[in-house]
């Protein structure tokens, strides 16, 4: 699924080195959102061991990578549906995964380690965990390891989706310990995440770069070749040292420091939030007016179409719709879909269903006598609608429109789960790297609050002005 496909296959046989096959190509690489030190954001830029590795390998082999930070599960789903060409996400090479993906040579030997809250002096070994709850990352090595010893030591394992949440869970005392990959844990502890490690790391699995089974073999070969080159030149070790030996926690730790550090990324996210909202609401308006007219039409077929549309989109969760349009639709059609397009498609179809009901309600709330008066004067259906019914209906509908606008703006935050880099997603990225969850979420919530209230005030002003 290389973007510049074409006759790659033809030249492949003649090529002597893998680098000629991939040179000039652009590959989309999926990754996790929150797996420091392998991938995380610093000042809005994706960085980490995986990022440095894949970028350096791409540079040495002459291809280009476009990184999509999707989250671990989402990245794997995207790889299976060929939404991305490869995934590098601190992913362990396992037998199960080798059934569906092709892996590169291992590029990192990991291992699970246990950590507890800094102040905790009671838990120093697995034996102290009896009767307690521990937390691990869903689908990770840590979870597998914890589950493998939980019966022996008598504890319960809870699974969460990302590292920052897990660490907060331990600090809050909901779990006594966390099992996570040692480099991740080591990085977090160096960032003063409030934890400490208390056991040695377990012998663990190795991380590999993956492509979909049987797809992009030239990309895999190029990765292996590039990795070997970096290892030989010492550049590989330099990358590891940068992140594991000397992680500098140099940034401003005050609230205002956080505010100014995070502002550029959050503003970028806000821009995307507003863009997705504006596009979605415009399309939803068109859909709502169209299907709204269907619902009040005399044709049973048109009414049926509109009713079906509304009940489908009101009768299913928005999150399921988002997953469907981003992951499901490409599998069904074979056509990859851009994350903004999938997001706008989801939100506009969803909001369109609510708009349809608003339009129907608005038209029906205008007294039937108004239509009769118009028609009895000899005015046609369209003229009567346009001059008599709609001006009154719009006035009734406007507050509901404004309400839907606000709802859609808030709903954009759900698109974070498909990796759309809007405001909530940017917030998640920030606390995944700095572990300051509470403060970051406060800032994010405040931005939503201010923007929504400003837009509501503006809308109400316009409503008063035009709907006297």
């Amino acid at each position: 699924m290389a973007l510049a496909g074409g006759f790659v296959g033809v030249t492949a046989a003649a090529a002597s080195s893998p680098s000629t096959e991939v040179s000039g190509e652009t590959y989309i690489i999926g990754t996790d959102t929150t797996f420091a030190p392998f991938e995380y954001r610093e000042d809005g830029e994706l960085t980490g061991i995986d990022m440095d590795l894949v970028r350096d390998i791409a540079a040495s082999q002459g291809f280009t990578v476009e990184i999509q930070s999707l989250g671990f599960d989402a990245a794997l789903q995207a790889l299976q549906s060929n939404q991305v060409d490869g995934v590098i996400a601190g992913m362990s090479i396992t037998d199960e995964r080798e059934l569906i993906f092709d892996f590169s040579d291992p590029y990192f030997d990991s291992g699970v380690q246990m950590a507890v809250a800094e102040a905790n002096t009671e838990i120093t070994a697995y034996a102290d965990l009896a009767g307690e709850t521990v937390v691990a990352k869903r689908g990770s090595e840590g979870e597998t390891f914890a589950n493998s010893i939980k019966d022996e030591y008598g504890f319960t394992v809870k699974a969460l989706a990302d590292s920052a949440t897990m660490y907060d869970d331990v600090k809050a005392g909901n779990s006594v310990a966390v099992f996570d990959d040692y480099p991740v844990l080591a990085y977090g502890i160096n960032q003063n995440n409030g934890l400490k490690s208390v056991t040695e790391k377990e012998q663990g699995s190795s991380y590999g770069f993956a492509v979909n089974k049987g797809q992009n073999p030239e990309l895999l070969a190029a990765f292996n070749a590039g990795l070997a080159e970096l290892e030989a030149s010492g550049a590989y070790q330099d990358i590891l040292d940068t992140y594991l030996d000397a992680p500098a926690a140099s940034s401003d730790t005050s609230f205002f420091g956080l505010l100014s550090d995070s502002a550029p990324a959050l503003m970028k996210g806000l821009g995307l939030t507003l863009l997705a909202t504006a596009l979605s609401i415009l399309i939803a308006l068109v859909l709502g007016v169209l299907f709204g007219f269907f619902t009040v039409s005399e044709s049973r077929i048109l009414r049926g179409i509109a009713t079906t549309y509304v009940s489908i989109f009101r009768g299913t969760p928005l999150l399921v719709q988002a997953f469907f349009f981003y992951f499901g639709l490409p599998q069904l059609t074979g056509q990859p879909i851009d994350v903004l397009a999938a997001g706008v498609l989801t939100l506009s179809l969803n909001a369109g269903a609510y708009m349809t009901e608003i339009v129907r309600g608005g038209i029906q709330s205008v007294d039937a006598g108004q239509t009769e008066a118009g028609r009895s004067l000899g005015l046609g259906y369209v003229t009567t609608m346009r001059r008599v019914v709609l001006p009154q209906a719009v006035k009734i509908m406007t507050p509901s429109f404004i309400n839907q606008f606000v709802m859609t703006l808030k709903d954009t935050s759900l698109l974070a789960v498909i990796g759309f880099a809007e405001l909530t997603y940017q917030g998640q990225q920030i606390y995944a790297a700095n572990f300051r969850t509470g403060e970051t979420l406060l800032i994010v919530a405040a931005i939503y609050f201010i923007v929504i209230n400003l837009l509501t005030m503006l809308s109400n002003k316009l409503d008063k002005r035009f709907n006297k």
């Binding site: 108004q370 008066a373 028609r375 009895s376 004067l377 000899g378 005015l379 046609g380 008599v388 009154q392």
Partner: protein
């Protein structure tokens, strides 16, 4: 256009059902040009439905209705054109609340491209003068009394210059002291020779202005005649019962 040449409105065997409920059970009514016909009868007898079949605001289930030479049951007839020949005034006025009085009256002539906007405005002002409301041209309907609203509604109907006017209980939503001003406007129209069908419960008014009175009950015309005949010497028991209650 089979109806007799002298009839302005010719109704033959008109039936109307709402679902399985038959509301009009075969009406035959002929109305001549310039005639003023008042329709009376108990509530639910089908008076409004009859009136609404004359401009096809309600669909006709069976029978024929020929108005001003147009057969309304003919699917090829342009209803929008026919309706411009027939004005209708409703019990609850149905003025357009988002428009001024003048805009209410000008809407149809302007939308139907009857001459220039200036012409429409001049006509509207003349009509307002005729119903005694020149000073209310820029008012909104909400600022008017019931009687004033109904007079504006009549002016609005007249603005497309109809040959026939239909009134459905035009005064029954009004306070008693306002009934007179509206009846006066209808009386003036009668005097000018307008063909009119007036559904009313104002028996005194019917007696005074009607050329003919039709008494309806249970979806049928029970009895019709001049006011003197119908009010002075009703033939049917049902007519007598009804009149004894309302007079």
């Amino acid at each position: 256009m089979s109806a007799s040449a002298s009839s302005k409105i010719s109704v033959r065997g008109l039936r109307k059902s709402f679902g399985s409920n038959e509301v009009l059970k075969g009406l035959d009514v002929e109305i001549a040009e310039g005639e003023v016909v008042c329709v009376i009868g108990p509530s639910g007898s089908g008076k409004s439905t009859f009136l609404r079949c004359l401009n096809k605001l309600d669909d006709i289930t069976a029978g024929t209705v020929v108005v001003d030479g147009f057969d309304l049951t003919d699917k090829t007839v342009n209803l929008n054109e026919v309706r411009q020949h027939i004005g209708m005034v409703f019990q609850h006025f149905n003025l357009f609340p988002h428009m001024s009085v003048l805009q209410n009256i000008m809407l149809a002539p302007v939308e139907l491209k009857r001459g220039s906007k200036a012409d429409a405005r001049a006509t509207a002002l003349t009509l307002l003068d005729r119903v005694g409301l020149s000073d209310k041209a820029d008012a909104r309907p909400a600022q008017l009394s019931g009687g004033q609203k109904q007079r504006v509604a009549i002016a609005r109907s007249l603005a497309v210059n109809p040959d026939i006017m239909l009134f459905d209980e035009a005064t029954s939503a009004l306070d008693p002291e306002m009934v007179g001003e509206v009846l006066q406007v209808i009386r003036d129209l009668a005097a000018e020779g307008m063909t009119m069908v007036v559904v009313t419960h104002e028996m005194g008014f019917a007696r005074e202005v009607a050329d003919r009175v039709i008494f309806m009950a249970d979806g049928l015309v029970v009895e019709e005649g001049t006011p003197a005949e119908l009010f002075g010497n009703p033939q049917h028991q049902r007519t007598q019962d009804f009149l004894s209650k309302v007079l």
